[in-house]
């Protein structure tokens, strides 16, 4: 169903940070949307306000979680919803991360700020089958310690000595909190991966994506093994409204996840 949204009920609301909320959604009626893959997105409709694209941040059988940062009219309306409220949902749209590409390789997941949201279901999937991959790394950058999403989960990952190496860095430390300070690329030296046999998945602000991808290229990762998730204005998500163009890429159709081999030249032109 992609013409008209399907009603979904908010079953749980979780405050992630001061301006970010996770909404757990289940179908309000007997029908549900087709299954989502990590990295794909839905158009989420706030009644009477509008519709925005939001990646899925958790995928259960019938339940979808969307993590929304309040930055505009629609996202603010979504962040203000309480359990029991209804939203409209269209999807799934766009390309996913395609975790299969990392089979047999070291895995590097790099997230900046809200960029951790679309990467979380990828990490869950990888952790569900750790033997399929080599060493797994999750590197997280945030503005302050208070801006790290899913803090309990992230804390558990950083503390555990499991198959996942998880590092967190912040731009500005908070009083009384110890931890790494600096941009997310400063965590790359501590990550465990063989650059020539690694697949990277990156999402965050464009400047962070650029810096990380360039760093990884220098370390010897091939461009096509660097997968990045990008963001553009979207109205329809079905390839008809023209808003999400980045050069020849229609972000809703050819993205949001594309290879750095395609993204690099597009992101190097100002205001493209």
């Amino acid at each position: 169903m992609n013409d008209v949204p399907l009603p979904y009920r908010v079953t749980q609301v979780r405050d992630e940070t001061a301006d970010t909320v996770s909404l757990a959604l289940t179908p309000a009626g007997p029908t549900s949307l087709a299954p989502f893959a990590p990295g794909q997105f839905a158009m989420v409709y706030a009644f009477g306000v509008g519709e925005i694209p939001v990646s899925v941040s958790r995928i259960d059988r019938r339940e979808l979680v969307h993590t929304v940062r309040s930055v505009g009219a629609v996202s603010a309306a979504l962040c203000a919803l309480r359990p029991g409220a209804h939203v409209g949902l269209r999807g799934p749209f766009g390309t996913g991360w395609e975790l299969d590409r990392a089979t047999g390789q070291d895995m590097l997941v790099v997230a900046g700020g809200i960029g951790l949201a679309p990467l979380r279901p990828l990490v869950f999937d990888a952790l569900a089958a750790p033997r399929a991959y080599g060493r797994m790394n999750l590197l997280i950058g945030a503005r302050t310690p208070h801006d790290v999403l899913y803090s309990q989960q992230v804390h558990a990952w950083t503390a555990a000595h499991g198959p996942l190496h998880c590092g967190v860095t912040v731009d500005r430390p908070a009083p009384g909190r110890l931890g790494h300070v600096g941009v997310v690329t400063t965590l790359l030296n501590g990550a465990r991966f063989e650059p020539r046999n690694t697949t990277a998945f990156i999402c965050g602000p464009e400047v962070m994506i650029r810096a990380t991808a360039r760093d990884l290229l220098q370390r010897g990762l091939p461009a096509h093994r660097i997968r990045v998730s990008l963001e553009r204005n979207m109205r329809c998500a079905t390839g008809h409204c023209g808003h999400c163009q980045l050069g020849g890429v229609l972000m809703c159709r050819d993205g949001p996840v594309i290879g750095w081999d395609r993204a690099e030249s597009l992101l190097s032109v100002r205001e493209l």
Binding site: V4, C241, G242, E271
Partner: protein, 393 residues
Amino acid sequence: MTDSPAISVLDREGLDALVKTLTTEGRTVVGPTVRDGAVVLSELASADQLPFGWGTRVEAGHYRLIPREDGAAFAHTSGPQSWKTFLHPQREKLWSADRGADGQLSLTAEQPEQPSYAFLGVRPCDLRAIAIQDRVLTGGHYQDSGYRERRSGAFLIAAECTEPGATCFCVSMGGGPAADNGFDLALTEVVDEAGHRFLVRVGSEAGAEVLSHVPRCQADVETQTAARRAVDAARDRMGRAMPPVSLRTLMGQSLEADRWDDVADRCLTCGNCTMVCPTCFCTTTEEVTDLTGDHAERWQRWDSCFDLDFSYLHGGPVRSSPRSRYRQWLTHKLSTWYDQFDSSGCVGCGRCVTWCPVGIDITEEASALHDELEARLRLQEQAEQQERTEKVQ
């Protein structure tokens, strides 16, 4: 040239009978007519409303009607509208949403009965434009259902071009004044000593069926020859031309050209070019609520990549400078359209040139970009040659 039963000739009464036949079938006949000093597209009740005796004089940023002594109906160039006004209308309701007492949402698709159109006088450039919008709106994984219904029910009567305007450049875009396919019927207007008549070719079964109800004669050799000559002559009388290079490659290599600053100094970013362009398809959405607060509607309306909001992401627009917005329009039209929809987005109709309030000419801009690129490549080559010579020494 051989006589074929598929080719016949209508006189002016025959043309009117064609309109009446289509109207009787329940179709909304739309064609060119004179209004407000321009040839506009409007619903027609009779062929008499066609712009008989009117031609047009166009230039960059200039459009005037001029009377014609020969009384021709299809001797005008493209007006400010194109058929997208009807197939892909400016405003369209997508769905409505109602909120019940318990907060439950019910969402309903807008599925109005679509008009059954007959378009009379579709230029070959506009036939190609319709084919391009077909690919954009119905050729991909998702289809625009409203467009699909209006389009599949539309009956197209082409009018071959015998009077290209000064802003026309369809030949250099791989098109031309002849209608080759994509129509139900194709007319070629002939006015000479033998009279005022319309050669009719049949392009589909539906076309043959409609024509069977219309009084007509079998085409004579003279009319066929005159029609062919007029269209062939039009081919050589295009007012403008694109530079004869791969525009796709040219645009791809010109993203950082200085010319964008030059054109940005003139461009008002008004978006006229995108409104008159027969292939520009971009839309945005609006949420409309009523006073109860429990009923909302989702509307789609035309949008323009020249609008600052078009590329808005939280924090600001991606393309804020006029330079980047003009570049988006031109490079999309001539280059990245291929990546997205496997063809150019330009048919060479010249509307964007005519209706630009400051007379920016897409062919002139493309030529300037071509010259700049050539100059840059020459300099590079010279530099490389010099380097090689220095190495040898």
